[in-house]
Structure formats: C-alpha cells, structure tokens
Symmetry: C2
Subunit: 201 residues, 2 copies
DNA sequence: GTCTATAGAGGGATAGAC
DNA sequence: GTCTATCCCTCTATAGAC
C-alpha cells in the first residue's frame, strides 16, 4: 500500500497556490476558472480537487503564507533593541508588498471578497489583529522609552500607522510620476509626527 | 415620427443604475447578472441594452453620480470663507460615505475592477484628481492664512488627508466596538497635526 | 411613415458537473 | 470528455408618438 507523503502534499499545495495567486490577482476570484488554475499549475482537475475542496479554499490558503511571513518579521522586531528601527522595518515591508504588482492586485481582491464573504472577512480580521498587536507593542516600547508621545493611545496609534501605509497602495491606477523612495520617506515622517517621535519635527 | 425624450432617457438610466448599485455592492460585478439587474429595475433585457451597451457601461455610469455630488460639495467649500470648516465638511462627507454599507461595498469592488481594467482605472484616477484638487485648494488657503504649516507641500498634504480618511473604511470585516463619532474626531486631530493646524497641538 | 421605447426569445460562448 | 446550465448580448417584433 502507498502511504501519504506529507512533504509531497505540502509541495503540491504550494504549487497550486502559487499558480492561483497570479490568476486571482490579475483576473479576480470570480473570473478565474478552476480549469485555468489546473493548466497553470500543471495538474489535472481531479488532482486539484484532491488537494483543495473548492476554488475558495485555494483562495483562503493564501492567508497562511502571509501569516507566516509577518510572524517572522514581528519576532525579529521584538528581538531588536531599537523599537523605532523595528517599526521602520514594518513600514518598509508594507511598502514592498504594495509595490509588488501581484500582491497589490490580490489585496484589493481579498478586500472585495471580505465584504461579502464572512469566512474571508474573519481571515482578514485575524491578519489585521496580528498586525495591530505587533505594531502596538512597538509603539508601547517607544512610549516607555520616552521616545514617542502619540496623539492617541498606542492601539489607536498602531491603527493610524497602518492607515498611513495604506497610502502605498494606489487606488488601482498607475501613477507614472510616482517616486516610491520619497513616498516611503514621507510616510515615515508622517508616522513620526503622528507618534510624536523626534523625527517628525 | 417619434422624437427622443431626454428626460425619460435620463430617468430610465437612473432607474437601472439605482437597481444595479445594490447588486454590484453585495454580489460583486462579475457575479451580478444582467437578468438580475433587469428584474430589480423592472425592465426587460432588450430595454436594458437599449440604454446601456453593456453591463460594464452600467458600472461606469456610477462614477457620474459621484462626480456630480463632489463637484457640488467643493463648490460650497470654495464659497465658504473658512477653509478649515470646508475641509472638515469634506472629511465628514468621506466618513458618511464610508459608513454607508452599499457605498463601502461598491468602493472595494471599484478598486478591484480598477486593478485589472484600464478604463475603470482612468475613471478612478479622474475622481481622485478632482478630490485632490479640491483639498489642495483648501490647504493652500489655510497656509496662505497662516493657519497651517504642513510637513509636506500642499498637494502631498492633500493626498495625506485622503489617506487619513481611508481609515473610515472597514477592511471588509465587521468591527463591533467601533465608535464612528470619536473616530472622526480622531481623524480630524490627526489631519490637524499633519497640517500643522492649531487643533492638532 | 418613420423613429423610439419596450419586450422577450434565442445565439454563441463557456463554465462546471458527472 | 460529454452534457447541461448559464450568461451576455443580439435580433426580431410590436405599440405608439410625431
């Protein structure tokens, strides 16, 4: 008898998810057909449904990748003795994600889906809470060190940091004269001013 | 011969668009069928396509309503002798739109569509530019009056105002403990601080 | 008589089920 | 791989205004 190989299983799932990401981002969830995903991933229909029960399940699997990456980054910032540097690393990562065409397209698709699908909304909420916890911890350390004096309590301030980084996402249209570098620098100054950090003066 | 009636034409288009808005917002563009729109609007298939060449054309028509409303508001703020009061009216309007469940759902759908449809992206860009022009004018008046000292030039500051108001939008999941009133007050303080207006101190 | 508004059946394409 | 269902849109037809 043939036993299940967990490593192969994980690899096949990864292969399918990787192929689906690009399709979801460019065509949208509704307009992406399972047949296309099969073609892109190089698996048969039957095989695809062996690894995922539905098209939506593939979509939801995307969240796992994101979760693992952010857990890793926040662990690093927690270990960093300088909370401001850690916060700036978070900002840089968010900027990098927003500049990534596939990820950016995927995100708007995820928000649209979350607005009408409670399961997707729960996954988004979970990710958001994780982000907010991580950033709040950094802000609290800044306040404790006497290096910040935010207009609002740290949890709210953390939310404002996320709002600020939302500026990295275009509203769906390309802005040709966009300078990502100065944009990030501006965002950091804005955050500094919001948090009452010396760099915002 | 029978002549075209512009008023009837306008009315029928409005009727169709009005019915479609809700469907687009709740089900999404792709999952809304023209048959459903017909049923909701109380018109036949043939009639619907007499007024709009395609389903997408109905979607695009939504932008016209938005444009007219904002033109009106910005005309009012331009006439208002107090630019700060005008800016706060803009913020209030943006907050009201974000709190409106149908409009909020529609907006994420529009952004998702814009990410893969250049025509939609152009319409979004046009609306954005209009918003930025209006806000920039208000910021410039504040600076001229010596009532503001933004960290960045007025056009960039206007962009940051819009980014701040993005906080009003949910990320697609219900946030039960959300207090819209204090949220708006916070946003106004944040904007004041960004612009270097006295209320941000 | 000609053009507009409306209606609804069905074509052509395609997705998903079995 | 076949079969059914569905969807966007076209086409033809009718009623009535000018």
């Amino acid at each position: 008898m043939r036993t299940a190989d967990p490593e192969l299983h994980r690899q096949r799932r990864q292969q399918i998810v990787g192929a689906a990401v690009e399709l979801f981002a460019t065509k949208g969830l509704a307009k992406t057909t399972t047949a296309e995903i099969c073609r892109a991933a190089g698996v048969s229909t039957g095989n695809l449904f062996h690894y995922f029960p539905s098209k939506l399940a593939i979509f939801y699997a995307l969240f796992e990748v994101d979760r693992d990456e952010w857990d890793e980054l926040f662990a690093a910032t927690a270990a960093d003795p300088d909370p401001w540097a850690g916060l700036m690393r978070v900002v840089d990562q968010l900027a990098a994600d927003a500049a990534h065409p596939v990820l950016a397209g995927l995100l708007v698709e995820i928000f649209a889906q979350a607005h009408r699908d409670p399961e997707c909304a729960a996954l988004v909420a979970e990710g958001d809470q994780r982000m907010l916890r991580g950033i709040t911890a950094l802000v609290e350390r800044l306040v404790a060190d006497g290096r910040a004096d935010p207009v609002v309590p740290p949890p709210d301030a953390a939310r404002w940091v996320l709002t600020t980084t939302d500026a990295f996402h275009t509203r769906g249209y390309p802005e040709p004269d966009r300078d990502r570098t100065t944009e990030i620098a501006q965002a950091k100054r804005v955050i500094a001013r919001l948090l009452g950090h010396p760099e915002g003066r």
